[in-house]
């Protein structure tokens, strides 16, 4: 049966005020998400990951390309608010404080999506209580205002509001990057548990590789509006094949002085502005493997393994990098040793 969400050749350009130039945010992106699966969109600023998330939820109208949900294309006649789709796709935002109406009590905010599904008041209150408990929020929180909650609690309410309509897909736009490390870990555990219980698919947008690695089934690496590499999570983290994926993975700082970030692939310079994109591969200016072809033609996605695509002419040379770039396995081993001792107070 067809995938839950299918995005074909999605393009989005924003007009730049006062001039004819445009910001090329998304330049032809394709991916699918199956039921209960988590696809992570990984990229840095200007990669277009947030724009894609907002196109999928109908907050922004795409310039070109089609987005189909549950087999049927979304568009003018069938958008996120129409009867058939209402409540089936939800959104969780990055800034916890800004995603809650300051003048509305928590209980009211949690139950609001049910109002638009015509759920009766009694049912609403029951489901709000149930979700609040599932999120680990005390019942008294329901009478409080957002300003009285911690960032972690606010984010839980944001997630609760999304989960309460039992949606098939939740788009999460960097839900953890505004939180402290301990709160971030709690939210990630919560998301995994909710997915296991409700079977909700996630489109998880983030620039934080360690969180992505932990909770996603498949990963798509985005650079300046194009997917440069897409694969199953373990495959990508074990053997990244695009120079940008390698560079991204190499610059992750792990909390262990002995695991230095590797300098196998260092991406020099800055991310160019998405206003006037270079013709060829957009990484050409920063890539150590750059060749003549890279500057002129855009490398097409080529299959290099089971559902593993990479858009780079030199991906064999990247594959040939013998030094493993990824110390994560060793870090996980060290961290398990360290955490398994002392919790019981001896």
């Amino acid at each position: 049966m067809s995938a839950l969400l299918e995005v074909q050749d999605l393009v989005k350009r924003f007009p730049l005020g006062g001039t004819r130039k445009t910001v090329q945010a998304v330049n032809g992106v394709e991916f699918t998400i199956d039921r209960g699966e988590t696809l992570a969109l990984v990229g840095e600023s200007g990669s277009g990951k947030t724009t894609i998330g907002r196109c999928v939820t109908g907050l922004i109208e795409p310039t070109a390309g089609t987005i189909s949900f549950d087999g049927k294309p979304m568009g003018r006649g069938r958008d996120i608010r129409s009867k058939g789709l209402r409540g089936r796709i939800q959104f969780v935002f990055q800034e916890p404080a800004e995603s809650l109406d300051p003048r509305q009590r928590i209980g009211e905010t949690l139950g609001e999506p049910l109002r638009y599904l015509g759920v009766t008041r009694a049912d609403r209150e029951r489901r709000v209580l149930d979700v609040a408990r599932r999120l680990g929020l005390a019942d008294s929180t329901l009478d409080q205002f957002p300003a009285e909650l911690s960032a972690g609690q606010q984010q839980r309410v944001g997630i609760g509001r999304a989960v309460i309509t039992d949606p098939e897909l939740i788009v999460l736009d960097e839900p953890t990057s505004a939180l402290d490390p301990t709160a971030r870990a709690e939210i990630v555990d919560l998301l995994i548990r909710l997915q296991r219980e409700f079977g909700t698919a996630y489109l998880f947008i983030s620039h934080d590789l360690s969180t992505v690695r932990f909770l996603s089934h498949r990963v798509a690496v985005l650079y300046l509006g194009t997917i440069v590499e897409q694969a199953a999570a373990e495959a990508l983290f074990a053997r990244p094949l695009h120079p940008y994926s390698v560079g991204l993975l190499a610059s992750v700082l792990l909390p262990n002085p002995r695991l230095k970030p590797s300098s196998a692939v260092t991406l020099e310079g800055e991310i160019p502005s998405p206003i006037d994109l270079p013709p060829g591969c957009s990484l050409a200016g920063r890539c150590p493997f750059v060749g003549e072809r890279c500057r002129t033609t855009r490398p097409p996605p080529t299959a290099v393994g089971p559902a593993h695509y990479v858009s780079c002419f030199h991906h064999e040379r990247v594959a040939a990098l013998d030094r493993t770039v990824d110390h994560f396995a060793r870090f996980q081993q060290e961290s398990n040793r360290l955490l398994s001792v002392g919790a019981d107070g001896n």
Binding site: I80, R81, F91, E98, R115, R134, G136, S140, A147
Partner: protein, 315 residues
């Protein structure tokens, strides 16, 4: 194993309502008045002006309309505390009756313009920049607001009064008409910024209709600055009404109204009798000052950031 089920629903005691939120807000409001005496002065002035307007018949020493030529232009003091004007009417009584006219005109005028301006501003602000015809609608409305505001306000008001005839009703219409662009612009800019906030987008994604979004999320968060402007605007409208009467285009004599009283006393000032013009001016100035203070306090209390600074400094 879900964290949620670790404790049952009955275990949690229902949250006792220690302090109803409105009682907490009221206590905070009075604490603010103690901390900022100027706000207290503002509410005191506005309160007493309204009180005076209501109780005028009982507290005014003379009938405001009785002209007794035998006692014209008496200086202040004696039976006529603030003296009498050129027509022999008691100035104090007329000052006490005046807010009935001045305030009704100003309050009605600004309320009408706030409601009209606010509503149009909200619709224009919400639909601006979206589908084609909505963008055209908001552009025309904004350009006509520019046209309205390019008019010289005072002459425009006089012209309106001339068109609708010299009555209280037409002054109210003039004031409403002149103030509409202020609220329209204020509400539009509020709505434009609020509609992009995340919680509005969350409601959109959850399937809320435009009306539900406007009514439940945008307007409640956009109201506060409007109320602050309302208070300042009432004061300004009282000034405008007095100005209209001064040039003879406002409230017709002998109805007691501060502006026309000042106008009637105008010739006497040059020849030394200052009181028929000066006292009504003081009453008018004080009232407008009161409303300005009230407006300033609402501006501070309505803005969460400034409220936190205020409560910090009150500790």
């Amino acid at each position: 194993m879900t964290v949620g089920t670790r404790f049952g629903s009955d275990a949690a005691a229902p949250a006792t309502r220690v302090d109803a939120p409105w009682r907490r807000r009221l206590r905070f409001f009075f604490a603010v008045l103690r901390a900022r005496p100027s706000f207290a002065v503002g509410y005191a002035i506005v309160g007493s002006v309204i009180l005076v307007a209501v109780l005028a018949p009982w507290i005014a020493p003379f009938d405001p309309l009785k002209a007794d030529p035998s006692v014209y232009l008496l200086p202040p003091g004696g039976r006529h505390l603030l003296g009498t004007d050129g027509a022999g009417m008691d100035i104090l009584s007329r000052i006490l009756y005046a807010p009935r006219v001045d305030l009704t005109i100003a309050v009605l005028g600004t309320l009408v313009s706030a409601l009209a301006g606010g509503a149009i501003g909200a619709i224009v602000g919400y639909y601006e920049g979206q589908r084609a015809w909505r963008r055209a609608l908001s552009a025309t409305v904004m350009r006509s607001a520019d046209v309205l505001q390019a008019f010289p306000v005072f002459v425009f008001a006089i012209a309106l009064v001339a068109v609708f005839g010299q009555s209280v009703r037409s002054i109210v219409i003039a004031i409403a008409f002149v103030n509409v662009p202020i609220y329209l612009r204020l509400m539009r800019s509020q709505v434009l910024s609020i509609r992009q906030l995340r919680y509005v987008e969350a409601a959109y994604v959850a399937g809320a209709s435009d009306l539900a979004i406007l009514w439940r999320h945008i307007i409640p968060n956009a109201i506060a600055p409007l109320v602050a402007q309302l208070s300042i605007n009432i004061g300004w409208s009282v000034l405008l009404t007095a100005g209209l009467s001064f040039v003879g285009a406002g409230v017709v004599a002998p109805t007691p109204e501060w502006g026309s009283m000042i106008a009637m006393g105008f010739q006497n000032v040059v020849t030394g009798q200052w009181w028929p013009s000066v006292f009504p001016g003081i009453a008018l100035g004080l009232t407008v000052f009161g409303f300005a203070l009230v407006g300033a306090s609402i501006e501070v209390l309505a803005d969460p950031a400034r409220r936190r600074i205020l409560s910090g400094s009150m500790a």
